[in-house]
Structure formats: C-alpha cells, structure tokens
C-alpha cells in the first residue's frame, strides 16, 4: 500500500509540475485576441443580442450547444437505461419532514418562474437556457425530495424534452434553409438591441434549451429516485 501511495504522490507531483509549466507560460493578455474582438465588435449588429456570451453559445458556436444538449439528452436516457428493471419490492416508508414539504410547496412555483425568467432573458442578461433549466431541475428535485413516492409523470417529461429538442433541430434546419446556415438566428428579425423580442431566434432557442435541460435534469433525478425506492 505504501508503495502505491508513494507512486500516487509521485504522479500527482509530476502532474503538478506539468500544470506549473502551463502556469509559467501564461501571460495575462492586455487586449482581446482577434476572435474575441470580432465577437465583441460585431455581436450587436450581426446577432442582435446584448449578452455576447449568449450570442456565441446559441449562434456563433451553436453547434457546440446543440452537442451539449445532446449530451444531457443522452445522459438522461442512459441513466434511465442503467437503472432499468429495478425490482418490485415495496417502496420504503415516506419519512420526509414537514419542514421540507412546506418549504417545497412555497419554493417550487417561485423557482420554476425564476427558471423561466432566466432562460427567456438569456440574450439580455447573464443566464440562459442551461442556467434556467438547472433552476427548474432544482425545483423538481425539491419536489421529489419532499415527496419521494409521489409519481413524477415521466411521460410528460419525456414528451416535453423530445419535442423541445426536435423543435430546436427544426429551427436549426430553418436557418440552413432560409438564412445563412445551420442554427442561424436571423430567420426571425433581429429587432431592437435590448428588447425581449430581439436577437432573432435566440430567445426561442434558449427557451427550448431551458425546457429541455430542465426536463432532462428532472428525469435523471426521477430515475435515480425510483431506483432508490425500489431496492432499498
């Protein structure tokens, strides 16, 4: 064991040396590089979003984001698959505390609204589909914690998730057919910078992402929760 531990120390130290090389090579930049400069200069005109990060995430590098959503989709799918055919044992007793239940009832509606707000305003303020989706997911988690035996309607989650994903693809396709390329947001008018209905398809896409992420996170939690119920 000792040998192994000293090996680990050696490995970690060596990796530390490697990281230190990275550290040494790093120089704090004084100005933007050409890519960043382009984004920061052209986003308002080209994409119409106030939040440049959102413009990059949803439009310029929208393909990455679609990939991310896909990763979450796969994760939700596979977690459900890993934890498939649990036994049919009696569910364990519901021993959730009163405080949790009450707090959940108060917090859940607010959280969901907050989540929706965050993803709808993704192009204007910090935040966006993922952040909003995560908030919604948290709300659902709270719901499950408060009532582990209550049935979350997984079918509803799946349909919402699938349809929002599918619509996302369709919007991307519309960009390919009617605008500059796949996921081009200029299929809708860019509107006035700073308005809620601006930046073309970005609010739409980010809402779909928000819905999708929220439902995916929820269904992951629900899958894990079900398994816990059945085998405990």
């Amino acid at each position: 064991m000792k040998i192994k531990n000293s090996l680990v120390i050696l490995l970690v130290m060596a990796f530390g040396v490697f990281l230190f090389q990275v550290y040494k090579q790093h120089q704090t930049q004084g100005s933007l590089n050409k890519t960043a400069a382009y984004y920061n200069t052209n986003t308002p005109d080209e994409v119409g979003a106030s939040n440049v990060v959102t413009a990059i995430v949803v439009t310029y590098r929208g393909l990455d984001t679609l990939g991310e959503v896909t990763v979450l989709f796969l994760t939700a799918m596979i977690v459900g698959y890993i934890l498939r055919h649990g036994g049919k044992e009696k569910p364990m007793k519901n021993n959730t505390s009163e405080i949790l239940i009450t707090a959940a009832n108060v917090l859940i509606p607010g959280s969901i609204i907050l989540g929706v707000y965050v993803f709808i305003n993704g192009h204007l303020t910090p935040g966006g589909g993922f952040q909003g989706g995560a908030i919604i997911g948290t709300a659902i988690t709270l719901m499950i914690l408060a009532d582990p035996l209550g049935s979350v309607k997984k079918a509803v989650l799946h349909i919402t998730e699938s349809l929002s994903g599918f619509t996302y693809i369709l919007i991307g396709l519309a960009g390919l057919l009617f605008a500059g390329g796949f996921l081009d947001n200029r299929i809708l008018p860019l509107g006035n910078l700073g308005n809620l209905l601006s930046a073309g398809a970005i609010p739409l896409i980010y809402s779909l992402i928000g819905l999708k992420v929220g439902t995916e996170l929820s269904s992951i939690i629900a899958s894990i929760n079900e398994t816990g119920n059945k085998t405990a």
Binding site: Q25, T35, A36, L63, F73, Y81, I82, G181
Partner: protein
C-alpha cells in the same frame, strides 16, 4: 450536394423524437433507426459518387452563416466521405445486428446508437477544435450507454471504468483546446495551422495535450486496461462498433490534428504506436477469451496505424494511404470477427469450432484471419510491403524490427485460433448459428477482397505479375461443389494448358524449377483420382499452392517474388492443415514460414533501399549492408528448406498431411526455398562478415542437416516421418552443394533438387498407397507386404536404389558428383561427413523396404490388396524418368552443366562422345570419368546373369509355411517390441545418440515458453482495478510529456 448538417439534423432529430416513444412502438422505433442509418449511408455514397465524378468539389460549410474562425465549420472532401461511408455502413449493419435488443429496449438504444453515429460523422467533418471536444464527449457517453446492452455486472464494471477513463482523457483534451485558443486566438484548425511556425510554448503544450488525448482514446500501451474490459464484457456487436467505427474516427481525427504537431510529436506517436503494436500482440498470446483476444488484436492493429501516421515527416504523405490500407483491413476484419463472435455461444476459443459446420462461414473467418495477418491479396499486404520498403529507405531499422516482431506475435495467436476452429475437438457441435447475423461478416469479407483489388493501384513498386495462375484458384473455388474427379481433371487440364503456353517462355533456372513444379502438379493430381467424394476445399488450395510456386518462378521483381511466396505459403498451410492430426504442425509450419517471409520482406526492402531497383537484380550490390541482407534472406529461405535448427516444423507437417499432400509439400514445396537460395546466391555471391566466409558456414549447416536429418530418419518407426526427416537430410545436401559456389557444387545441388523431387514424390506416394490399404504408418505393425503389394514394393526398391547412390541409378551420379565437387573445393572434412551421411541414408532406406515389405506377412494384412491404379501410375511415370536419366545422364546433367557455365565458367564437367550406342556421352572431371550408360549396361548384365541363375535354381527351393507366433499365454504390454524391426537401430542410437538430442526443438520450446511468460508478466499490469487504469493513463501522459519536453 447534401450538406453534412443533414446527418446531424436527421440523426439528432430522430434521436430526440425516439425519446418519446414507448415500448409499444418498438417496431416503429427500430424501423426509424434503421431508416436513419440507411440515410447516413446513402448520403455518404452520394458524396463519394459526386466527388469522384466531379459533380461537386470538396467544400466547407459553416454553421450559423458566419465564416470561421468565428463559427464552426465542417469540411467535406473525399477522405471525409470515405471514412463516413465506413462508419455509416458499419452503423447500418449494427442496427440490423442488434434488432432483437432494439426491439426490447428500443427507446434508449435506438436513440443512443443514432446519436452516436451522428457524433462520429461530425467528428470526421468538423474543423473546430473545441467542437471536437463536444462530439468526443457525445461518443464517450453514448458508448457508456450501449455497453449496457449486456445487462450483467461485468458490463457494468467495464462501463464504469470506461467512463472514468474517458473523463480523464477528455479533461486533457479540453485543457488542450482551451490553451490553443488562448495561445492563438482561434479554434479553427486551418487558421491555427497557418500560425504553426510561430507557435508559442503554450501552443506547443496545447497541441501536445490534444494529440495525446486522442492517442489515449486510441488505447496505447499501457494506458488501455479500460478498453480491454469493454471489449471483453460488452456485447461483441459493440466490440465491432468500438473497434471499427470509433477507432476509425479517432484515427482520422488524430491525423487531422497531428498536422499541428512538431516532428517530436510525430515521433512520439510513431513510437507509442509501434510499442503498442508489439506489446498488445505479445499479450494477446496469453488470451483465452475470444473477445478479449480480439480486443488485444484491435489495440495492436490501431497501434500499427498510429506508428504509420507518426512516420509522416519521415515518409511523406504516402503514409496516409499505407495507414488507410492497414486501417481498412482492420476495420473490415475486426468488425466481421466481432459479429461472428456474437453468433458463437461460449467464451472459449474452442467454442468457435462450430463455425466449421458451415464452409461459407469458415471461409469468411479464414479471410479475416489471413487479412489481419497481411497475406495477399488483402489491402494490409500491400500496406505492409509499402511500409517496410519506406521505413528501410529511411533507415528506421528499429521500427521495422518492432513491427515485424509484433506481426509475428499476432500471427501466432491468430493462426492458433484458426487451427482450433478448423481442427479442434468441439464441445458442442449442434447448436446453430444465427444466419441473419452472418450477413455483415459476409459483406465485409467481400469488401476485403475488393479492397485488395483496389489497393494494388497504390503500389509504388512496379507489379508486372502474371495473375493468370490465380484465376485457377477462383475457378476451382466457384466450382467446389463438383465431385473430386471432375475438379481433378479440370485442374490437371489447366496445369497442362498453362505449361504448354508458358513453359517454353522460361529459361535457365526458371525452366528447371518451372518443370519441377508443373510436373509435380501433374504427378500429384494423377494420384488425386484415387480419392472419392468431393474433397471440399482441396482443389482451390492445391491450385493456390501451385499458383504461388509458378508465380514465384515467373517473378522478376522483388514484389512479385514476395507476393508469390506468400500465396504459396498460404496455400500450403491450408493443405497441411487438412491432415487429421496436423493442427499443431500446420501452426509451426505457418510460424516458421511467416517468420521467414518477414525476413525476406525486410531483406528485399533493404536491398531496394541500397540499389533503388525494383527487380530481383536489386540484390546485386556492394554495400556494407550486403552481408546483413544476405543473412536475412538466407535465413528466410532456409526456413522453407528446413535446414537443421529451422526444421522442427517439417517432420510433423509432412507426415501428418494427407497422403497426396505429403508429396506436394515435401517433394515440391521445399524446392521453393532452393529456388530462393539460387536466386539469392546468383546475385549476391559470396559474402563475408568480419572476414568469415558465410558460404563456409552454410556448407556446415548443409552438411549437419544432411547428417542429422538422415540419422533422425533412421530412428523413426513411422514411415512418413522417416521420409520427412529424410527430406531434411536431402535438402542439407542441396544446401551443401549450393554453398560450394562452384560449377560442380551447383550441378550437384540442382540435379539433387530434381532427383529429390522425383524420389520423394514417388516414395511418399508409395507409402500413401500402403496407407490407403493398411491404414497404418507404423512399420513395426507391418511385414511381408511384398506378397500383397508387389508393384509398390518395386517402386520402393527402385526409390531406395536411386536414393542411396548405388549404381546404376541416378543417385550414383549424385554421389560421384559430390566427391568430385568436394575434392575440387577441398572441403575434406565436410566431404567425410557427407560420406557418413550417405551411409546413414542407406540405413533408413533399408528399414523402409525391410520392415513393411520383407519378412513374414502379418495376419491382419493377409487380405490387403495392391494400391489402386491411380496411385501407382504416377509412381511408375517417375520410375520411367529415373530410368531414362540414369541410363543417359547427359540428358540432364549436360544441359544443367551448360547453364551453369554461364555462372561458373570453370571447373565443370567435360562431356565427350563414347563408343557405346545410343549416343551416350562420358563425363570427365579433373579426377576421373563416368559414363552412366556404360554403368547401366554392366549392372543390368550382372543382374541379368544372377537372375537367370536364380530362376534355374528355383526348383530346389522349398516352400515354408508361416508360423503363428504365440506368446505362451502372455500378452506383452508393448506389443511393438515383439516385432523384429522395432527400434531397429537401437545400437546406433546408443552410439550416436548425442547427435540426435533434439536441441533445436528444445531451443524453440524454450523461446516459446519465455515469450509466453513475458506475455503473462506484462498483462499483470491490467489488474482490473479502474483506479489503477486511471493511474496508467496519467503515467502515460506524464511520461510522454516529459519525453517531449526533456524534463523541466
């Protein structure tokens, strides 16, 4: 042109939709998945067609309508289209293959498979370094999903280890992608490439990180324990996806990113790949589980492609084609094998024996094994050739050695497996194979053949080969359903027609060996008429061996020679394998032949590097390398002639082969090695190493082979083994003759080769005739067969007289020649041993006639009949030839002498007319003269007189009845000891036993055990602990980093 985005749109769109389906729509889901994959495949085909015909140009598409580097771009060229076609075809077949799983778990599996293949496609197209990270993750996560198709704890553990490993790998990649952005301000590959010359240190680190991450994805040694577990635990169909599609994608990706790397990074990749190839195949030697074995093999093959790609700065852009050749073979063969694995129940190599119930499946399996072993005509063969030629041109001998050793290990386990499948006792023989699942392997096997056909176009060597002989193989393959006699006639006719047209075009040595091979084919095929039934597979394989032989004779280029050599090896391996108990011997034959072929390949490559020629005249050279090349090529050819030390495959292979295969592989095939030596010696001449004449060493090898081979032959109880060892001895003589490098020496060798062909063919056929009646090869269970099989007896008698060098038959000529040659060369010590070996030869020959034919007729042999006409016919043809050349030796020797005078003008025999009729001529040497006709007439005279005396005195003879020997009620525990011929030379064995210690056998056994021990030690690395695997990855990463950067 269909935009590559449509792959993403259809894949993801359907994938997302499948998320809502339930169990009830399983059939529909399955259909949709299949449809999407078919769409992918169709699109790939459309691209290839369009790009090929020029309907559209390679092009770039941008996401979101902005130009890179500000958006993500996909590039589609011919390379991308081909790789995507490979991936998508595999995907399509996989979906079909998994349909029962898809019907059960349609929702997750269908969607995950679709998304996964979409992701792989995107990885091929994308030119954005961060986008690669995203799709890498999609691939990794989908993998962790489909591993679960096998719902058992092995698969779960393997999936967990896989996920842990891939999260560490992706962290490396992510860091790399981010650092390259900070360093260059771009994530667009082509953009960054323009800045390559001005990379800051940070960018170098970034490129290293990205490259190493993809390299680790490709499972380098030792950071690959996680992958092996996946191969073993997951459903074999997933093995096909990982090993085929994922690996192909990753290799393409690596090739895409590597362009950013410095030469150091390339070198690192090449070294890692070569070591992985070597060690992975090495450890494969110890594998018993087919899927894990395939895993090791996959990792090895991928290592080889890595090594090839890493050689780009040295070998130029041509490496991509070479790498693709290896990759394509690996892709098709490995996916096919994994799919076959899914149809075999049971997890041992033996359980695959079920494949042999169906000849088609067995053929497919054989194609995969031979393709992986880089035999012609598969793409890997051409790739191997190009690679070794290229590497030796740049002097990378270490890399050549690593690669050749690795491929030898690979061949060991692949052919061990193949032998088991074809021959081993099967535990379960009736459980069926799911035929629907064999469609994929069949398609891929066909693709391999087609790939080989196209691969020829990329050959850099001129390939002026006559492929007509191979047509015979194909024709007979197609007509394999016909009865044996029909195919026999067909092949005989083809041999006849071919000889009629082509033999007259040959000259010199070509002609001699061409005649040997073609006459050999005729003789063995005549024997073939004695076989009943269909003999499935026999005729195409026979045709393959003879095709190889004749192409060898016709070869004028290095490539053609090597090609023919491999064809011949493959054909003869199969023929030997057909024997009942021949599996281990066929394997050792294959290993020695393959090892020899690798040496030949390396030798040719070096010769080409020195002289720049593609013809066999590349061997004419004067360079410091020549002795090395000479040694490698000689060793390569000596494996085929079974010189002592390299002979251990021969006795088993020749004796366990079928009755008519033995003469082929003994009388005929061994001559291929002799031909090789002649080709070599003619061109390279005598070579010295450190002042030592290598020819002198070879003469000792030859003479020791002769002596020890003959001694071993004398001690055998099995007729065929006896003949087999006798071949070792005879070939030793031939080598001895060649090594003299003189007119007489070569005359001895070449006439010896012709004679050995005649005797050995005849004797093996005679013994085959005996076996066909007695079903026995043990001499101590026979006796008195002269009464039952007189015709065969006569053949053996003549064979013995001829072989032992007693006048008047041709063997005497050989003996006379050898004395002359030895005296001329002043090889007195070797000469004395040659005489001794000749005496020993007589000992074993005596046994061959004495034990089975003379003495009392055994009870159980009383009803034995003479061998059938078709067996006797070729033997008597040979006798006719022997009689002719014995009576008029000038027919043969004088002609050969004339030919030799071109090479060795001095010291030949002088032929003068004599007064004897028939125009017979006398041969005169420095030391004496000899007239064969005269000797023949005298001998016939003496024997005639004695015969008349004998006949006149015959009435005085008294017939004696045979006794039934009774053991006085005792039953001997070893009945063979009661036979007078058993262990006949026990006394010699006592006296000379020290010469017969199986040193060579012990040596090779020792080597084999050490190799397997090391394999076992090496694989202890993979102790099954996922955490340790992570440490391997980290260790590998750090070692590579510090190697590249030389420490701090």
């Amino acid at each position: 042109m269909v935009s590559p985005f449509y792959i993403l749109i259809v894949g993801l769109g359907l994938g997302f939709l499948l998320g809502m389906t339930g169990k009830k729509q399983a059939a529909l889901t399955n259909m949709l998945t299949l449809f999407a994959m078919a769409f992918f495949t169709g699109v790939s085909l459309h691209w290839i067609q369009g790009l090929y015909t020029g309907a559209f140009q390679p092009s770039m598409v941008f996401s979101a309508g902005f130009k890179p580097p500000f958006s993500i771009s996909l590039f589609l060229g011919m390379h991308e289209a081909v790789i995507s076609l490979m991936i998508n075809v595999l995907g399509l077949i996989s979906v079909w293959y998994f349909r029962e799983f898809l019907l059960r778990d349609s929702k997750p599996l269908g969607a995950v498979l679709l998304v996964m293949f979409m992701g792989l496609n995107m990885l091929v197209f994308t030119r954005d370094l961060f986008n690669i990270f995203v799709f890498l993750e999609i691939t990794a996560i989908s993998m962790s999903g489909i591993i679960l198709m096998n719902d058992n704890h092995h698969a779960h553990a393997a999936g967990f280890k896989y996920l842990l490993a891939s999260s560490l790998i992706s962290a490396f990649y992510l860091l790399g992608a981010v650092l390259i952005y900070f360093s260059t301000g771009s994530l667009y590959l082509d953009d960054i490439l323009t800045m390559k010359s001005a990379f800051a240190p940070m960018a170098l680190i970034a490129v290293f990180l990205m490259v190493i991450a993809i390299v680790i994805e490709l499972k380098p040694f030792p950071a690959n324990g996680w992958a092996l577990d996946v191969y073993e635990a997951a459903h074999p169909g997933i093995g096909a996806i990982v090993s085929g599609a994922v690996t192909t994608t990753m290799l393409f990706l690596l090739n895409k990113i590597l362009v950013l790397g410095s030469d150091k990074i390339y070198l690192l990749t090449a070294s890692v790949g070569a070591l992985t190839f070597l060690f992975s195949n090495w450890m494969g030697l110890q594998q018993k589980n087919p899927n894990r074995l395939l895993g090791y093999s996959s990792i090895g093959q991928v290592g080889l492609v890595l090594a090839i790609l890493g050689m780009k700065p040295v070998l130029g852009d041509g490496v991509e084609m070479i790498g693709f050749g290896v990759l394509l073979t690996h892709f098709l063969a490995k996916a096919g094998l994994f799919w076959l694995s899914g149809t075999v129940k049971g997890s041992s190599l033996e359980s695959w024996a079920i494949l042999r119930n169906n000849p088609v499946i067995l053929t497919i399996f054989g194609i995969f094994v031979f393709a992986l072993s880089a035999f012609p005509p598969f793409p890997s063969f051409y790739a191997k050739w190009e690679l070794i030629i290229g590497l030796s041109g740049t002097g990378n001998y270490l890399l050549i050695a690593l690669i050749l050793l690795g491929s030898l290990f690979e061949v060991i386990y692949l052919f061990r497996w193949f032998g088991i499948v074809v021959k081993a006792e099967s535990e379960e023989s009736d459980s069926g194979i799911e035929w629907g699942k064999a469609a994929g392997p069949a398609l891929f096997a066909l693709a391999l053949l087609a790939g080989g056909y196209f691969a020829r176009n990329y050959l850099s060597a001129p390939d002026m080969m006559n492929f007509i002989p191979l047509v015979a193989v194909v024709v007979l393959w197609v007509l394999d359903f016909m009865p044996a006699w029909a195919k026999n006639t067909l092949l005989l006719a083809m041999v006849g027609i071919y000889s009629w047209f082509y033999l007259p075009q040959y000259s010199d040595y070509q002609l001699i060996f061409g005649i040997i091979f073609m006459a050999g084919a005729v003789l063995t095929l005549l024997y073939g008429y004695s076989e009943k039934g269909k003999r499935p597979g026999f005729y195409p394989l026979t045709a393959m061996m003879f095709a190889g032989l004749i192409m060898l004779v016709e070869a004028t280029t290095l490539f053609g020679f090597f090609f023919a050599w491999e064809v011949m090896t493959a054909g003869s391996y199969f023929l030997i394998l057909r024997g009942k108990k021949s599996q281990p011997h066929a394997l050792s034959y294959m290993l020695f032949s393959f090892g020899g072929a690798l040496l030949i390949l390396a030798g040719f490559a070096m010769a080409h590097a020195v002289t720049g020629l593609w013809t066999l005249d590349a061997l004419v050279m004067d360079s410091p390398l020549s002795p090395v090349i000479f040694i490698m090529l000689t060793l390569g050819f000596l494996t085929k002639t079974a010189a002592i030390g390299l002979h251990i495959w021969l006795p088993g292979a020749h004796s366990e082969a079928e009755a008519d295969v033995s003469p082929m592989v003994s009388g005929i095939l061994l001559k291929a090695g002799v031909y090789g030596l002649i080709v070599l010696f003619m061109r390279m001449g005598t070579q010295y190493i450190g002042g030592v004449d290598l020819m002198v060493i070879l003469s000792w090898v030859g003479i020791l082979s002769a002596l020890i081979g003959n001694l071993m032959a004398a001690m055998q109880e099995d007729m065929k083994r006896l003949l087999a060892y006798s071949s070792v001895g005879q070939l030793g003589y031939i080598l001895f003759g060649l090594s003299m490098m003189s007119n007489l020496g070569w005359l001895l060798a070449i006439s010896g080769a012709i004679m050995h062909f005649l005797y050995k063919t005849m004797l093996f056929q005679a013994v085959g005739g005996v076996y066909s009646r007695t079903h026995d090869r043990m001499m101590y269970r026979m006796g008195g067969l002269i009464f039952r099989m007189p015709m065969t007896f006569i053949v053996v008698l003549i064979g013995i007289i001829a072989l032992s060098g007693v006048p008047p038959l041709s063997g005497f000529a050989g003996k006379w020649l050898s004395f002359n040659a030895v005296l001329q060369k002043e090889y007195y010590l070797q000469g004395a041993l040659a005489v001794l070996a000749g005496a020993v030869a007589f000992l074993y020959l005596f046994r061959l006639i004495h034990a089975p034919f003379l003495g009392q007729l055994k009870d159980n042999l009383r009803k034995v009949k003479e061998a059938s006409l078709w067996i006797l016919l070729p033997q008597y043809l040979v006798i006719a030839v022997i009689m002719a050349v014995s009576t008029v030796p000038g027919l043969l020797l004088e002609r050969i002498g004339k030919l030799l005078a071109k090479t060795f003008p001095d010291g030949g025999l002088l032929w003068v007319d004599s007064k004897i009729p028939f125009g017979a001529r006398t041969a005169i040497s420095e030391y004496g003269y000899w007239n064969g006709t005269y000797v023949m007439l005298v001998t016939i005279g003496i024997f005639g007189i004695l015969l008349i005396v004998q006949l006149l005195m015959q009435r005085n003879n008294k017939k004696v009845g045979q006794f039934n020997i009774v053991y006085s009620g005792e039953r001997p525990s070893t009945p063979e000891t009661t036979h007078h011929a058993y262990n006949f030379y026990a006394h010699y064995s006592k006296a000379l036993g020290f010469l017969m210690v199986p040193l060579a056998e012990r040596f090779w056994t020792w080597i084999s055990e050490r190799v397997h021990d090391i394999a076992h030690q090496l694989r202890q690395l993979y102790n099954g602990n996922g955490q340790v695997y992570l440490m391997h990855i980290m260790f590998f990463f750090l070692v590579c980093y510090f190697l590249i950067n030389g420490g701090f």
